[in-house]
Each structure stands twice: as C-alpha cells, then as structure tokens.
Symmetry: C2
Amino acid sequence: MTTILDGKALAAKTDENTKIEIQDLADRGIIPGLVVILVGHDEASQLYVRNKDKRARKMGIHSVVRNLPETITEEELIQIIHSYNADPTINAILVQLPLPAHINEFHVTTAIAPQKDADGFHPVNLGKLIVNRTEQTPIACTPAGIMKFFKAYHISLDGKKAVVVGRSTIVGKPMAALLVNANATVTIAHSHTKKLSELTQEADILVVAVGVAHFIKAVDVKNGAVVIDVGMDRDAQHKLVGDVDFDEVKNKAAYITPVPRGVGPMTISMLMAQTVSLTKWSSEQNG
Amino acid sequence: MTTILDGKALAAKTDENTKIEIQDLADRGIIPGLVVILVGHDEASQLYVRNKDKRARKMGIHSVVRNLPETITEEELIQIIHSYNADPTINAILVQLPLPAHINEFHVTTAIAPQKDADGFHPVNLGKLIVNRTEQTPIACTPAGIMKFFKAYHISLDGKKAVVVGRSTIVGKPMAALLVNANATVTIAHSHTKKLSELTQEADILVVAVGVAHFIKAVDVKNGAVVIDVGMDRDAQHKLVGDVDFDEVKNKAAYITPVPRGVGPMTISMLMAQTVSLTKWSSEQNG
C-alpha cells in the first residue's frame, strides 16, 4: 500500500495554525510584513511570486511585491534590500531566485538582515542549522516543509538511510542538515556522483531535487522507501511533472509526494509560517 | 603498497610557507596575534594549548595564552572574548574546547568576532563553507588540514565515495562540507547509524572522528581506501592511539594517517596558517 503525501491538505492545515498566530499578533496590534523582490520577468518566477502574494494577502499578511527591472545593478538591488532591512513594517524579505547573471546571488543573500531572512539562505542562519541551534532561526522553506511531511505522517528518521540528490543552497544542503539533525544517516549525491542508482536503491528516505523531469524511475527506488519529489519540471507535452516518475515509482514506495500538490504547496505555507515566526521573534526582542 | 601520510613532514612544509607570510607581514610592520583561551585545567587541553603556544612563538606569532578558572561564568568569559574582539594586537581567538558544563559552547562560539574566528566555528563562517563561498573565511583547522593531505598526496576526491564517521562541529560537519565542495559523494555517519561497517566498507575516502580507540578495524575498510584518522585516544596501556586500528588497517588501505604524526600536527599548522590569513585579511580591509 502506498500513501500519497497530500501537500495541499497539509498546507491547508499548516495555514490554519499560521492564521491563529496572525490573529494573536493582530490582537497585539502587529501585522506581519513580507516583501518579495522580483528582478526581471522570468515567467515561472512571476507565477511563484503571484502565488506567494495571493496566499499572504488571504492570510492577513501585509504583502509587498517589488518588481525590479532586469537591468538593475547589484548595488542598487542591495540598497533596496537595506531599505527593507530598516523598514519596521517589513519582517520578512525574500528575493526570488534565480537572479540575472550580472548579479551575485551570494552578495544579495548576505545583504538581507539575518532576522528578516524569509528563506533562511543567509550564511549565519545556514550555519546555525548545521550546528543544530535553530531557536529563532529561519530555515529554507522547501526542506522545512518536507520535515513537516515526515512529522505529519509519523515517518521516523532516526537511524534511517537518507539520500539527498542535489546539493543546492535552497534544498539539498539544508535538507541534508535537517536529516542529520534528525539522526538519519545522510548521503549527499549530485552531478558528480557515480553509480547514483545503486545509492538511491539503498535509501529508506529519498529526496530528489535535480530539476530533470522523471529523473528517478522505479528501478532506482527501494521497496517501501519514502520518496520526496522537489522537482517542478515540464515534460515533452509541457505538463508539470516532478523529478520522480510518479506513475512508476508510486507502486514501489511506501510514501510518495505527487507533483503538483506535494512539496510545492508546503513550501509556500512554510514561507507564511516563517514570516509570522520572524515577526514574533522580532516583537519579542523589541518588547 | 600502502602510503603512510606523513603529518609531521607536511606540517613542517606548511609551516615553512606560513613563515614566509609572517616575514612578509613583518616587513610591513605587522605581527599576527593569537590568543588561546583555556578554561579550567583539563590535562589534555593544557597539553594542546602548550603545543599551540610553543609552535606560535617559534614561528614569530604574538601568542597569548589566557588561563581562566573553572568557576568563571559564561558572561565573564564572553566579556573577555569581547575585549579580544576589540584588541588590535589580536587577530585570531581560539577558545579551547571542551568547556565546563555550566558554559554554553554555542554562546561562546558566537561571541567571537567572525573575522577573528581562528577555529572557523562561528555559524556565519560555517554557513559560508556550506555554500562554498570561503574567500576570507576561516575553516575548522582539523578538516582544513585533512584537505591539505589530499592535495599534497594528489588524492582525487571528485566523484569518490566519502564516508565521514562523526558529526561534530569541529570535524565531521565541516569535513563533510569540504568534501561535498570537492565533488565527492558524501555520507555522514554517526552514533545512530545502523550497519556502519557496511557503509565504511564502501568508502573510497574514510574519515573517522569518533574518539574511540581502534574503533575501525581492517574488516570495516575497503581495499585501497584512503583512511584518515582524527582520533587521539588512549589504549588500555595508556598509549596514544587513533580511532583506526593502524596495524590492521594499514595493510588494506592505499593511504592512511598514523596516530601520532598524522592529522594532529597538521591541525596545529593550519591554526598557524589561519592566524596569518586572518591577519592578512584584516590588514587588507583596514589598509
């Protein structure tokens, strides 16, 4: 029997909790503020930003979308980030990735004040995650959402073999850290990995974030594995699919996330929750 | 044929390079300053601190050893760290671990100014290592020294299976990050790992940092593996030995570090090199 991990339902449940926290803050006269900065007009990015904005507004978050031209310089972008760092109505800052090639992603990530770092990409926040000291520390939303699946579906991680395919700052690296902190034995695989299929076949927990449609097939997966698909790819028919061949793999896995309605909705929910957490933490420090 | 990785020789060579840099700085009127803070009177720690001090003085580094009583409070210790953060004659601060139980290691680590962080344990430095942006970033000395072995002995890491046993902030976690950055496929194993021997038997590169004498036996090691032993343990006869049973494993490994004269001397050399690097970086930013 395979359990399909229902991202839409879990996101709705997560949002309910977040709404209660937003109401608590409202009772104290505090409205969480989120700014999403979008440089250029990448279509996929525009869609993501729109979805984030819509969800935030619906939940009672003060949501700002700042559209900036493709031609903006790194210095100008960083100046704008600094202005939001200083803006008391903004508690969470997210710069939508990818950025145009002339802008250094690392410089931008490190310009965001760590206490307003909605994505948890600032090195000091990542470092705290690595050493498992995450009190009042934002964590990258996609892996944080994946951890919620494990919790909601009572999937134990302690002593399990976990394989994370992909080593991005956005998913792979923080995911590996969260799994190590949860006492899994973690392997980080990537484009230089040899005999990848042998590795993934041994995984009790398999997280795939490579950005290639149907990269993982049934043959690559252990019977009874937990398979988490972070991909948002297009197949030959331009249909949205994941990095995992869902139709094949679902018969072999014990748990699997679909695409869509899997990891994606939870990522946005975690962004909302994190915006509220950042707001609470800052109000605790100020008050 | 097994190659014994000669830590004493590599440390001497590393020190020669560091001395040239110290001379260059001296020509500009700059003397690198290192303070090592020791709380209490743990015997092993006292020995390590003495060795560090001796090496630093011999190389022309301004070396300060600050002995503090076991009873010092966390607040007092942090005040002292802040005074060194502000002291222009000090470029590198190291707090010898472990600390007494009443002092929070994380609070102390984060009190050190990142630009004077001799051990690279501050979360912002660890975070930069994780995202592979290590320009002007100190890195934990033990794993940094291990990387020097790989380089000196032309041991390729790209696409290799590396297993790191131990997940400390001091060794395991930064070691894993360095290996991922070098394109190895990295598994982090630890006390919760099941069937550890099966894992280590698959490792092309095996780094062991568990603190248990002769924990790894020949049966746990792949033929032709590179075996790095971070242990500094005492056997039943109180003799200094490693986490790896050297006499057994040396016949199976292609490369192996002995204990003593393996990883240990390189760790101190990297501390010296890092003290000089921190001094150079700060002089570049000030001048």
